[in-house]
Symmetry: D2
Subunit: 476 residues, 4 copies
């Protein structure tokens, strides 16, 4: 099957899925005032595949076959660099908001390949076979995919079996000949409302007593019993002049409920093998944090670019403190970019799949995330308080106010009020709106939080070897 | 005249003022869907004066006379501590959003007393007399006051007279026997839409050629020619369950245009004395930054309190990294509070008015401001991604979704889903919404930005004395 | 007995004490090339008491009696402020190195009074009586005192009784009618080589099984069985031109071994009451961290003063980044100073003794300590690499080199090479020598490390009250 | 000519050079108690070339010819990676102190090739020819080279011609047919006392009036009129048990005086072409900062290795805050390493020479430098105060003290006192001694300070392109 068109994608979402928004079932996500925006945002992916400017990057050709590059299994550093470039390019085209309908799903597929390889090596070849088949199915049908990983967790200091409530982690409630029935809920599931497939992965390592919780699988978005309760953050209607980014771009998250959902055998990728649950969770984030850093690059470009452009508009580009702050943003962006590119180049190949250097990826991700709020602060600092005190879009056209706004809100010579306000509005949308807040929270939490990143870096760093050096220096 | 009631305050705002919202003139600010919220917020001030819990703190008695403590001219450290406590208490009652309708106006009045004292000492006693009379007028009529200080500035690297456009700073365009006519615009004027009086101050030091720009005065909010164009940031309608703070509390800012406004002589506090313009600007912020730090205290309490409460709800209070982050918030709050209290105690009395220690005030303000985003990051970190992925208020009542939400979003044993969501919604409102963004931008810009604070600290610190000590140590 | 003279102090140290330096017993600490320097440094205390410039501050008069103010039991904030001023003043006179021969001992005495008060309230009045008597003895004889608190600890993750080795914490090995015999070793004991008395305190909270380790007492420095093994860090001989501070000022630390030392009953302040061990350790640091912050103030003055003076000498005072860095140092000093003064003012009186505000003290200490290295970095940055590449003292006098050095190493007009080099040498001594390193390590470790300070701040901060506020805001 | 032996190198330094130490001329640097140490340190370079473990890396073979890899002109990323590896490896072998006798000189040679290429392109081919010839001469004779760049500068706010004193920057005082005579002085010249050649470069951009100051050349270390006045920092004699690194490793710096030194024509690389002075200065640091980051890697390995080893010895490896601090060190090292490797890979080839990516190099260098003191703080924190309170080397052997030290200073089970003390002594030497301070100052100042690094990053970052992106997002 060839790559899908925008229309095909939209039609595929009219499949009877159970999506709830503000307590009500959504009849068609395409026409919903909020979720429709997310659908529209996701179509950028399909448009890029047809756009001559992006086609080379976005589409793989193997003989007569064509498929989206996202689905390409990376064989080495070059593939990973290309993938990173594709993710950055599409996010850039999507105005700093990641598209994600293929990024995250393929991260999961890559991880399933690697873990499937490990399982095959331990005498369980069936999982890898299912993964390979499922991968081809998604690729050949050019599907949009979500990944549901984070369980609701209840008391976060307790494991799955120790919870007050047996369903605080997703679990198998029935094993049948032809498949399993699962119950539970995942949170923070991104792009689920407008995906075709939902891949479900365990969120953590499991102990022997957690057997029922060691489960991974994939189901279509309209699977019976699957309910998606949409988040409403950032869903107020917005003026495109005041919110040039978020009036047009949106990503949806859901609380994804599995109310006794049946999963057929060929879609099950883990079923009770507790020893592989942690590995699966971890392998997924090894890919997904690489994806994450890649899609953060346009956001960082927008921050340093905005800071520079507005400093110019405000006439303060020559001030020493301004240069210092711009340099800080430049260094921030440069470091994260340099590290993720180096992570691609120093990948390891595991079971035939190139895995980005985990240490560098985690360090890059942590550095991005931990310094994001400070970068926002700098951009806010250079822009000025008009971020929150600017007049309305209507004030630029109203007879009563237009003349005043145009007269008084100009900047440095040659920078008129309207352009300056549009620039400031964009920066306000980027850093001082619910969209800006969304990006802050994503920086902190998406793809695992600070402590997870630090833990993985701690484990990957070669302390033994440097400690040996230290002991040599000490003569002991 | 006794203290005003809420009704008297609201009635006083029906005075024909020219307020524009989204390009349209507002007929009554009280009933406007957005500005009405700001009026309601401001009434907390008038309610507190009648509330037995706050009366002692909020009201001064001198013989039979009663007036709002804000108007009390501080004579020493104790007065400043009380004032700080009043500001913090009212902001706490107002759910972390400062009320400001008396705070900022009295900061201006105190500064005008001090500068008036200086001017009297230089042979110009009339200004101080006008200030004293105006102060009594505002106090005795229990008025709400705004301060318009920041000019629109155009090219920020140029002074008033050097701008492309003569009106980029507010200026006197006509001097009459009985007063002056002024033209220009001020931005970021807070609470102007719902104040009775607007005090206008210069925003910077002036040079001899800037004579027409060296002007300070006060006018009523309905003065002919005065136009206020309201900012729309954060003005979307909000559900009080999802936004428990900002659905109920609002502050308005305006672009405040002076389209040839007449100011009578007795309301003029500076008219061409360029040498006092900078002093006036600076003296105002010496008081106003003290006010600012005082009103930030409840915000910092809310941050550390929210972090603690949600860590408890999530069951992670015992984790070492959580303790570390909570300690960081505790130290942040403690330091800012300790410093501002010390600033009150080590005040200097100038022309009879106690001025908070300027070095300590600026250092406290800078420390607050520069570390605010990091504090937000910590709170977001401890709360979790539900900040932006939580279900809607309606999902708690809808038949279709209620059971799932209640079942799956509970926290640590004993912390049910509804309470947890309400807590998370509050934190989202505080740190991950347009209100949260507004607080971030205020931290950076309100009462002068980072560089202004650093400059004033540099000037106030006694480098001469410590350099002498260093030279002594060096034996030179 | 009146205050002692320098001679009396020095003579008192010729008491047969067992001090070892580089493996050899020291016959007279006064004449030892390294320890003699420490004695000389300590004499500043006795000189100040006679110096009219300091007498008022350093000496208390009660009727005909005179005694060193250090021994004055603080009754309130004013006493604490005076004590802080005395500590800062003497450290300033001692060129940034604390004298400590009375500071630390009186911190211990104050803590023993408070804990003695608690013990008396629990039916054990004898300890308080002993403390009071011992306090008068030290005060009336104007004694120099060391405090030995930190046990050697072995495996720091284990408590006293759980160690591989029973003597890793100091313990009672014999209880006699007239006293006890103790065995063990304390480390990091400052000024022990040149004190008259050694006060010994427990280093941590104890459990029931640690009874033998719950012990506090005081002994003279020449007690039989007491051995002090001196540290050698920073003990190379130094040229006073190249090291204007450390060539003249020195503090000694020892590994203090108690090889079955007898302690008479009236000198025992804790004997097996495990429940008071932790309180005693903690109460001591409540005073001692206040002392610490007080004696750090001259060090911070020296840092910002040095930075300013050398920036002036180098001709870079007008550069924007230089101002920024100087402001950073100014703010650092101002904050720590403001917080410690506020800690004095908001003290609590416990059993008649004023205890500095523990939360503020710990926050101030942590802020000082955690930011010290960065402050050093700034000073090094502004000074230049001559810190480590400057010519020798002899190059300023040698025929062969003098002319070149004078010609080439001048700074800004009017700042000749010799003065500039002396200034740079002082800064090198302060920040880029073993003395500088000693100050860095002290910042990190003295009076308890980072984690101890953070833990105490966490415990003292009122999380309950702010969490209640957060819940109120959330409506739960 | 083949590679030199250690003996040949040492003999070559007996050439009558004028080196002064503490005001006295040094007759033979090899036998001087301090400089001899620096010579010994430098011999590691010559030993590595003969050592089978390093030969492959250290020596280039071209046909029958062999020469030190340092002299190899880099053609691309691979060459730069190898060079970086060589620099790191030799510094690792030299116990964290860079050897530098070939590193810095070849940085200068590479820069001279690039600038010579530019000059040739502008019609001045003679300089490149001289550079090429000189490069072959140094390479074929396996010479040790120093680079003298930093002028003494006087008032650092003024340029060369504007100084009070014409010799504050090195200048040409006479132009002859066969060469030039130069006068002035350079500071911070590393390894000059034990090099064969001194390359002299301008330190900054020049203006037309600075023609006499636009000069670059090379001279032998024994050139008449050349005087080197050695720095004495860190030159006290040290016990190798207490200072296992710095008792054996030393680098010398000099004030390098050019008292009318003649330079023959073929050794002149710039003579009055003011427009190339700045380029030459800058091109040199483009290479030299890459070298710098490379030689910092072993220092960072030592820091994180020491922290890990001592945390293990102290029994605190499992503590959460310890892990956090170790992770910080790991991330610090990983980032700097990743960035510098990426800088090699993304080099640009200019006039046939591969120049490391300047943006990445400067960002890596700045990140290393700006965070160095904090890394030191962490290591000090984890090690404990024994860093400055440990007993002497002699205490481990003296009858009087040995038993106490061994008994009491053990760590976690299995970590005896002697090994623990040796480890702590090494860390003390590395972070809390004059050697540690030297490394701190080097971090701040060597290869140009913070502001220089930031300025170059600012210039290299592509602000135009990101600003265009920001404007696109804003729709302007």
């Amino acid at each position: 099957m060839p790559l899908r068109t925008v229309e095909q994608y939209k039609n595929s979402l009219r499949d009877g899925r159970a999506v709830y928004f503000r307590g009500e079932k959504v009849s068609d996500v395409n026409t919903h005032p909020v979720i429709g925006l997310a659908v529209e945002h996701a179509t950028i992916d399909y448009k890029m595949a047809e756009d001559p400017r992006f086609r080379e990057l976005a589409v793989m050709r193997e003989g007569a076959e064509e498929y989206s590059r996202y689905y390409h299994l990376p064989k080495g550093g070059t593939d990973l660099l290309k993938r990173s470039e594709l993710i950055a390019t599409s996010t850039r085209a999507a105005a700093t908001l990641v598209i994600l309908i293929k990024e995250i799903g393929t991260d999961a597929l890559f991880a399933l390949h690697v873990v499937g390889g490990h399982m095959a090596a331990k005498g369980k070849p069936e999982y890898l076979e299912r993964v390979q088949k499922y991968h081809r199915y998604c690729r050949d049908n050019d599907l949009a995919m979500a990944v549901a990983q984070t369980d609701v967790k209840g008391d976060r200091s307790l494991g799955p079996s120790a919870q007050e409530h047996p369903d605080y982690y997703l679990r198998i409630v029935e094993e049948r000949k032809d498949g399993i029935v699962v119950r539970g809920a995942k949170i923070h599931t991104s792009v689920s409302t407008n995906s075709n497939e939902i891949v479900v992965l365990p969120t953590r390592a499991m102990k022997p007593e957690d057997k029922a919780y060691a489960v991974a699988f994939a189901i279509p978005a309209n699977a019976p019993g699957l309910k998606m309760i949409a988040a409403t953050h950032g869903s107020a209607q917005k003026d495109p002049i005041e919110h040039p980014i978020s009036a047009r771009h949106k990503m949806m998250e859901t609380l994804t409920v599995f109310d006794d959902v049946f999963v057929p055998k060929e879609r099950i990728f883990l079923q009770g093998e507790v020893e592989f649950a942690g590995l699966m969770a971890l392998t997924f984030v090894r890919f997904h944090r690489f994806t994450a850093v890649s899609y953060k690059l346009p956001l960082m470009e927008a921050l340093s670019g905005a800071a520079y452009a507005v400093a110019e508009a405000n006439g303060i580009l020559a001030a020493s403190h301004v240069r210092d702050k711009l340099t800080h943003l430049a260094a921030y962006h440069t470091m994260v970019r340099g590290l993720i590119e180096r992570a691609a180049e120093t990948c390891t190949v595991e079971h035939g799949i190139a895995v980005p250097n985990t240490l560098l990826t985690n360090v890059a991700k942590y550095h991005f995330a931990h310094n994001y709020h400070q970068a926002v602060q700098i951009v806010q600092d250079l822009t000025g308080a008009l971020l929150v005190t600017a007049p309305a879009a209507e004030d630029l056209t109203s007879e009563a106010t237009r003349a005043y706004v145009l007269k008084y809100l100009g900047g440095r010579k040659g920078f008129d009020a309207e352009r300056r306000l549009r620039l400031i509005n964009m920066i306000s949308d980027l850093t001082a709106s619910d969209y800006g807040a969304y990006q802050e929270v994503l920086a902190v939490h998406a793809e695992g939080g600070f402590e997870a990143e630090k833990l993985q870096a701690y484990r990957e760093y070669d302390f033994k070897s440097v400690a040996a050096y230290a002991r040599t220096l000490a003569g002991i």
